[in-house]
Symmetry: C2
Subunit: 197 residues, 2 copies
């Protein structure tokens, strides 16, 4: 509509997860109209993130320091490492607060379709980390998708040589979930893993 | 999670229309992970927009030039001015392609609740523009909300002294809309304005 610059901004915004072409247009207009209180602070925040945020040297979590908060925390149990696909998953587990060990971010899953092999994931660094000793359990918290499970099996195979217990998250009915909305796979898994009350 | 910079970026993104806290977090992570292809181009596009895009001197549409595309186009009918609340609405009408005149962007609606009086809207400039002559019809394309209709009545009153026809968009059943999803107000309006086939 106004040619170059605004159109380009809209296209770039539309690629963000959660924004489609329509909401990208609304977002761009709001940014232009509120230059001082919205656009310039966003530029500033983006530049600061680009300058300061980087992957943690040990686990791949994002951090403004060399080590992330989890790796730098002496209270966290170094004998348990939870392997996740992505930083999002690490944050979700931290929000749940159920895990007090350390993490390792793979950076994705194996995917034949997308040409992602083991060398594109942080599997080598995980093995080096484990070979240093002190880790008793690796929890594979990967997605319950085909790619996630393929990756989990691959990682488990690579870890078989080490004297480390390898576990995975339980499948089952989500807390608060209604049975008749669940797929058969989840229901079957929940049935098989049933517990006595 | 990682402290300062990333948290700030997430908060700023979450204020954009269409992004909530959850999708803002995903967007921020994607931006960090794809620094070269996502974050830096976004910074560049934002800076370019901040530098080049400004309101059209005549109508308030956004433009990289002194006059917007519509005002600069000699083919557009200068005898009709369509008054809209916001640039979004102007763009929506342009996409529909139903109007070949010029526009005037008010910059909002009157709102007692938000303390927006006539002086905060571009009503004075509209009157000056009309007093220069040559305009035969003003079409008030304001939202069918209480504030939109209040504003339409206020603007119509201010225009009453001028020899200009003042019209508004028709109310009715949206094209492709099903009757039983429509509110009573729309149905009543559509009934009253019925046409012979």
């Amino acid at each position: 509509m106004t040619g170059g610059a605004l159109e380009r901004l809209i296209q770039i915004l539309a690629r963000l997860p959660g924004l489609g072409p329509r909401s990208a247009r609304r977002a761009a207009l709001q940014l232009v109209k509120r230059r001082e209180v919205a656009l310039l602070p966003l530029v500033q925040a983006l530049e600061e993130v680009a300058r300061t945020v980087r992957p943690c040297r040990i686990c791949g979590n994002l951090s403004e320091a060399d080590l992330c908060e989890v790796c730098a925390d002496p209270e966290r149990d170094a004998s348990q490492i939870c392997v996740v696909e992505d930083v999002e998953d690490l944050w979700a587990l931290e929000r749940a607060g159920a895990f007090k060990g350390r993490y390792h971010v793979l950076g994705g899953t194996l995917s034949a379709l997308d040409g992602i092999g083991p060398d594109k994931l942080s599997i080598g660094p995980l093995l080096s980390r484990l070979r240093q000793g002190g880790v008793k359990e690796v929890i594979l918290a990967l997605g319950a998708t085909v790619d996630g499970q393929t990756t989990a099996h691959y990682v488990a195979d690579r870890l078989a040589e080490l004297p480390i217990a390898v576990t995975r998250l339980a499948h089952g009915v989500p807390v608060g979930g209604e049975l008749d909305y669940l797929d058969e796979g989840t229901l079957t898994a929940a049935f098989k893993a049933r517990r006595s009350l």
